[in-house]
């Protein structure tokens, strides 16, 4: 299904690299043990606790991980690249650098660029720019409807052949039930997933979560019901069509209950959320802080807890950064007209690890939502430490405490509400197809 043309990595063979004394973390196999991993070229050649017991290979570069965690490279299934169309906010190159710093080896671009990705030409452009950047792997979704207008379906088949890994209208929900039904139905031909932004557009015309805070600030509220109404309608359509459906950015207890029930009933349904929805609540809006404006909006504390709970019980399959770069001019505005979104590539791992450090979720479970979870939904080959898998790896220090500083981000935009937010866990190395693209010691030289 995947087109290899999307692979941006240089064809130069990175050779053999031995990672020794690593804490191997593989959510696919449930492995959490000290051992070593050998990559050969772009693939994992061997892995295990007793690897190299008989001595280190002489022809490999050796990297002593000194007990740090080695996991499959993170896969971020929800990133806005802003290229083409808004290169003053982000480019494929700057987003790739940000991803590399965040330990993300693959990212998937939302199609709400300008022009939108509703045509193979735009997919090819992104693939070319990613090849030029030579950093992380960049995939892209096609739009469900032409021009994000919610009416006519795009060429799912042709877009799939050119590498689209799924279809979504990005931050716009497909409101028309008939269009959504056809999308879920037609996408079965190409075994593609349909990804929905879970908000009823008419109910979601406000600026923040509906409730006491919105009432005090005099801002129009978006009720939690806007989310569950859209999700429940779609679940009926999934049952009707047999399509594969993924809900992005789930934020409410009610929608999560609906998804939980649908999964139990055996529907092909998955969902994701973003770190802000389990770390922050509506109070972060405070005094009209536009950096805390996101879509869907930050919810009340009960909903935040429900998201945490749904991550723990497996209802939520994926944590995505929902990387949404915006420049100052888009955010330094009255709250109601400021653009929604947070830059997230460089804070995805540490914010997600809070779930582990707070004792909410096991470490392998957190990692599965960042690696094998999205790989399975999108049919990507990464997300595992198995022999033969791509040598996409993230090496990180699980316990290192630090404070998030958006000014130091590689991303062109710094719109994050997490300034000075204390976290634990830091990326030390990012390896894509056997090649170290971020870290102190560059494997390319071997």
């Amino acid at each position: 299904m995947m087109s290899s043309s999307m692979n941006p990595i240089s064809r130069k063979n990175p050779g053999r690299v031995a990672y020794i004394n690593a804490r191997l973390l593989d959510p696919t196999s449930g492995t959490d043990e000290t051992g070593a991993l050998l990559s050969d070229g772009t693939r994992i050649a061997d892995v295990g606790p007793r690897l190299f017991n008989d001595g280190l290979p002489e022809d490999a570069q050796v990297i002593d991980c000194a007990g740090l965690c080695l996991s499959p490279g993170l896969i971020d299934m929800r990133v806005q690249l802003r290229e083409p169309g808004a290169e003053h906010k982000e480019t494929i190159e700057s987003a790739s650098r940000a991803a590399a710093c965040g330990g993300i080896t693959s990212m998937v671009a939302l199609p709400n660029t300008e022009p939108v990705i509703d045509d193979v030409a735009v997919l090819e452009f992104i693939a070319r720019r990613a090849r030029e950047a030579k950093l992380v792997k960049v995939y892209a979704y096609g739009t469900i409807t032409r021009g994000l207008k919610g009416r006519e379906l795009t060429e799912f088949g042709l877009l799939t052949e050119f590498g689209a890994v799924g279809f979504t209208d990005g931050l716009t929900a497909v409101a028309d039930s008939q269009v959504m039904r056809r999308a879920l139905s037609y996408s079965r031909t190409f075994r593609q997933v349909i990804i929905q932004h879970p908000e009823d557009p008419a109910l979601a015309s406000g600026a923040m979560n509906e409730g006491e805070v919105a009432t005090r600030l005099g801002l129009t509220g978006i009720p939690a019901a806007a989310e569950v109404i859209m999700v429940e309608r779609d679940l009926r359509l999934v049952a009707l069509t047999g399509g594969r459906y993924h809900v992005a950015n789930v934020t409410t207890a009610a929608a999560l209950d609906a998804i939980r029930k649908a999964k139990r009933a055996g529907l092909a349904v998955t969902c994701d959320t973003a770190p802000q929805y389990f770390t922050l609540n509506e109070n972060s809006v405070g005094d009209y802080r536009s950096f805390a404006k996101v879509s869907p909006p930050l919810r009340g504390e009960e909903d935040r807890k429900a998201v945490e709970e749904a991550l723990a019980d497996g209802t939520i399959d994926v944590i995505a950064s929902d990387h949404s770069p915006h420049d100052q001019d888009s955010k330094r505005l009255p709250f109601a007209i400021a653009e929604p979104g947070i830059v997230g590539l460089e804070s995805l791992l540490p914010l997600s690890l809070q779930l582990y450090h707070n004792g909410k979720i096991g470490l392998l479970d957190v990692l599965s939502k960042l690696t094998s979870g999205p790989a399975a939904i999108l049919g990507l080959s990464g997300g595992s430490l198995a022999v033969g898998a791509p040598a996409d790896l993230t090496l990180f220090d699980l316990d290192k405490p630090w404070q998030i500083d958006p000014d130091s981000f590689q991303s062109k935009s710094k719109n994050s509400p997490f300034t000075d937010y204390p976290v634990q866990g830091a990326v030390k190395r990012c390896i894509v197809d056997g090649r170290c693209i971020f870290g102190t010691d560059d494997a390319r030289e071997s």
Binding site: E210, G211, E212, A214, T215, R216, L217, G218, L219, T220, G221, P223, D287, Y288, D329, R332, L333, P334, F335, A336, I337, A338
Partner: protein, 333 residues
């Protein structure tokens, strides 16, 4: 209500801006109302002009149409001796936000002493206040706050009833979109009044009870035993079948007339921030009933209250320049 008259601070008012009622104490509100009283007397005298703000520049920056609030601020500034400039900025363009910051920077470079700002977006005045060096008075931001209106309403009530403590006040009508309602709910709550809101549920914001008010959908029920009835203007553009189906239905169930007013206390007083839609939210005769209606008093108090706000917010400025003048005089001698 704490009867302090003056706070410990000799300047009386320890805020740089007046962005809302939220954040003010009962003492600070009382201080502003007491100060307003002195200006009521001045405004009724023949020579209404003082030189308190001589040489100072006050700019009325209005991103939304207004006649009475702008005129009231303009008069207040002029009677205090300030140079007052009116600026109306069209907010129809999509880039109104950029205009907001740009306009703030431009005006700031002209060294005004006070900016009075009205803007259609909630929070816009606070955003602007962060970009300028002068004092900012919120002349109404979106559906958020309109602090001088709440102060003048309180002043009007206080002069009639002596006190706000323990009064039962009903605020009726479009609470959802009303900055007047939000500021009044805050102020009346701080001063110990009991506040009710009466409106159809489509015009009540969610969790309004969390602001310390009782909500009613029925006028007679809600008006029972009320001392004060505050009517809000219904913006007719909101009448087109979305929030309420028609004007005649709205007036029938939520318009204030003699019949519904029977439910309130016999001496209940009526208020309205203006401009009124006669026959929409209030019966025309009732609005003109000089025994019951405080609507004209409200307009009069508006000027006095705004003079008090300008006075209070410029005290730090004025005492600083007096000190500088004194220092210069000392240096010269």
């Amino acid at each position: 209500m704490t009867d302090t008259g003056h706070t410990a601070n000799i300047l009386g008012f320890a805020h740089r801006h007046l962005l809302g009622i939220d954040g003010l104490t009962a003492e600070q509100i009382t201080f502003l109302l007491d100060l307003s009283d002195s200006y009521v007397a001045l405004n009724r005298s023949d020579d209404k002009k003082t030189s308190l703000l001589r040489g100072r520049t006050v700019i009325n920056l209005f991103f939304e149409n207004s006649t009475r609030t702008r005129t009231s601020f303009e008069l207040a500034g002029k009677r205090l001796g300030a140079d007052v400039i009116n600026m109306s900025v069209s907010s129809s363009s999509i880039k109104k936000g950029e205009t907001l910051i740009d306009t703030a920077m431009t005006l700031n470079a002209m060294h005004p002493d006070v900016l009075i700002v009205r803007h259609p977006d909630s929070g816009a005045v606070k955003l602007l206040s962060e970009k300028v060096n002068c004092a900012v008075i919120n002349g109404g931001d979106g559906s958020h706050e309109h602090p001088t209106q709440a102060l003048l309403d309180a002043q009007t009530i206080r002069r009639r009833r002596g006190n706000l403590q323990g009064l039962r006040v009903a605020i009726c009508g479009d609470i959802l979109h009303s900055r007047v309602a939000r500021s009044n709910i805050q102020l009346l709550g701080i001063m110990g009044a009991h506040v009710r809101v009466i409106a159809p549920p489509t015009l009540l914001p969610s969790n309004i009870e969390r602001l310390g008010v009782e909500a009613f959908f029925d006028m007679r029920e809600g008006l029972k035993d009320c001392d004060i009835v505050m009517m809000l203007r219904l913006q007719t553009e909101r009448m087109q079948g979305s929030f309420v189906p028609s004007i005649r239905e709205y007036f029938r169930f939520f318009g204030l007339d003699h019949d519904k007013l029977q439910a309130a206390k016999p001496d209940a007083l009526i208020m309205h921030p203006g401009p009124m839609n006669r026959g929409v939210e209030i019966d025309s005769e009732l609005a003109d009933d000089i025994d019951r209606s405080l609507i004209r008093d409200q307009v009069e108090m508006g000027v006095a209250v705004r003079m008090a706000c300008l006075d209070a917010l410029t005290r730090t400025l004025r005492s600083n320049s007096e000190e500088r003048a004194a220092a210069q005089a000392g240096g010269a001698a």
